[in-house]
Symmetry: C2
Subunit: 339 residues, 2 copies
């Protein structure tokens, strides 16, 4: 059989898999934001009835998995693979949240690019006849992320305007070989890009070149143009990163401004909610996709989306050792029709 | 096209991909062990010319990538995906070690099951015509792992007899759609199994039920028996875990004893090298596979191997919060002939 690769980084799926259901659960702050009506569930407090933030994040993942199965009218028995990961050390949220699932499990780590990475692998496994149904999941939690990556919350550390707010939330999708769309038609897998930025309070700027690299590669590999899309949406570049990405992409000959948005800007009202440059975390793009974008696709308000989740692949150890921030972005092209 | 799934957890590859090259670099202690003649390179000191253990581990990954490309007579341009991960928080070794590779990158986290997980995904991407050539890589480092998971080395903490010794080393393979074998014919993807064990100094015992679960699923799904294999090899159960796995598997009706070994037992002379229950870490199964097992396949000393890498999906946070240890094992069936 002929290769499904087009260009250097892109795969054109032969039998584009369907996204048959999505689900998402978010925290109280996300539940006060402009997308509140699109989320399946808004939890009352960050602990979600658990004793620790990490256990709360695991529970977010577990409940989102249960919810997406129910919405897809499937049981765990029907699922061939779970593909999941998160930001916590050793992917604690996914590994503990999904340990009772009884489903073959592939753990991934792509920082905040995880949703697009898992959907990329998932759609290849379905298209390649290795699976009938795959669940892709991720999560993040403001408190567990602050505790792990930054400062104790109790310290009340002031944040610079370029800082972003980690989304508390989990989002998941079921990708299936049967259905009526929306279809995953192409995936463009990112390379690691490190432009030497070291400011951990400006991850949007660090990630923007990786996002641009993947977006431009997608256009070059597929022959698509920005006009082919109703929405081009990055994961969590926030206000600073989005502007840089927009400009860098334009410098490469592709003007995406008219259809370009960023999940980190969509999830909060930045002025009223004091979230500085916007949202971030694996759960940001996951819940905005599962909650808002998927519903707009189903309503046919939009028909073709390029979803680019973006990840900063740093750790506290690497930053303490003076390292810059390697970044990555993966793109998934989703359409209501198969071209 | 028909599904490639057989049974609940196994995929039979339609055009079994080839492992066209392997490479591995190990630390000084591993270089004094019984497999020393099989490793491509033995480094003189754990720092490998770097200032920190984490940078040394990243360098192990980078140099192993360069070496495996060279041995496969390929350049980075020929590689469609790198699939890699490691034990460090946020997969530091892979993300920093491979950031200059310029190859589409899929990060995975499966703790010490990473080598089999990455080979599973890699072989599906090749078999499914999504890639011509994929590199799968992982690493671990005794010092960076001790520092992150256990105690400062300077403390000289005494270790119980059930404890294992994290291998310093990196192993990688090139999986290709062209070649003359050895072939990856089947993969069996594990589920997360948590039997409630909490002793972080006895990970072999924690992982054994997951290994058994995947081995038994493999036999049930494929119809193979232990007699079909020249070698059934788990990743890093060590002395305690190997015995448990052997017994649990026998209880399920499969006697693997005659052909069963464990990479953690193969890599060190446990008596002379004071490594207690044996080796562990992502690098354990990766270097034993890349160094020893692959060469024995190429020499036709053995012709059919079931390689089961095993992972303990804990973190220091989860253990501090009183959690048990969820585990996973992924199996890759490799043969010199296509059945």
């Amino acid at each position: 059989m002929a290769t499904k690769r087009i260009g250097k980084q892109t795969v054109k799926l032969q039998n584009p898999p369907n996204i048959i259901a999505t689900a998402c659960i978010v925290g109280p702050k996300e539940g006060e934001g402009p997308l509140r009506l699109y989320f399946d569930e808004i939890i009352d407090d960050e602990l979600f009835g658990e004793k620790t933030w990490e256990k709360a994040e695991s529970k977010l993942m577990r409940e989102t998995f249960a919810k997406v199965l129910k919405k897809a009218n499937k049981t765990a028995e029907d699922i061939d693979y779970i593909i999941a990961g998160d930001l916590l050390n050793q992917c604690l949220a996914a590994n503990f949240g999904l340990r009772e699932s009884e489903v073959p499990f592939l753990g991934v780590y792509g920082a905040c690019s995880t949703m697009a990475e898992s959907m990329s692998i998932g759609s290849m496994l379905v298209d390649g006849n290795f699976a009938d149904n795959v669940v892709c999941l991720t999560s993040s939690h403001f408190c567990s992320a602050e505790k792990q990556f930054r400062f104790p919350l109790e310290l009340g550390t002031q944040r610079p305007p370029t800082a972003q707010w980690t989304v508390t939330g989990s989002g998941g999708v079921v990708i299936s070989n049967k259905g009526n769309g929306p279809y995953i038609t192409h995936i463009t897998t990112g390379k690691i890009v490190d432009m030497g930025i070291k400011d951990v309070n400006n991850m949007g700027a660090a990630m923007a070149p990786a996002a641009m690299d993947t977006i431009v590669s997608h256009f070059m590999d597929t022959g698509f143009t920005p006009e082919d899309y109703d929405l081009i949406v990055t994961g969590d570049l926030g206000a600073v990163g989005k502007e840089i990405c927009d400009e860098l992409t334009r410098e490469q000959g592709y003007n995406i401004s008219k259809v370009y948005n960023d999940c980190g800007l969509m999830i909060y009202d930045r002025q009223k909610q004091d979230t500085h440059a916007g949202g971030s975390g694996c759960g940001c793009s996951a819940t905005v996709f599962a909650g808002f974008i998927y519903k707009k696709l189903m309503e046919r308000v939009i028909n073709k989306v390029l979803f680019i989740a973006t990840g900063a692949l740093l750790s506290t150890t690497s930053s303490q050792q003076g390292e810059s921030i390697p970044c990555i972005a993966h793109a998934v092209s989703i359409s209501n029709t198969i071209s």
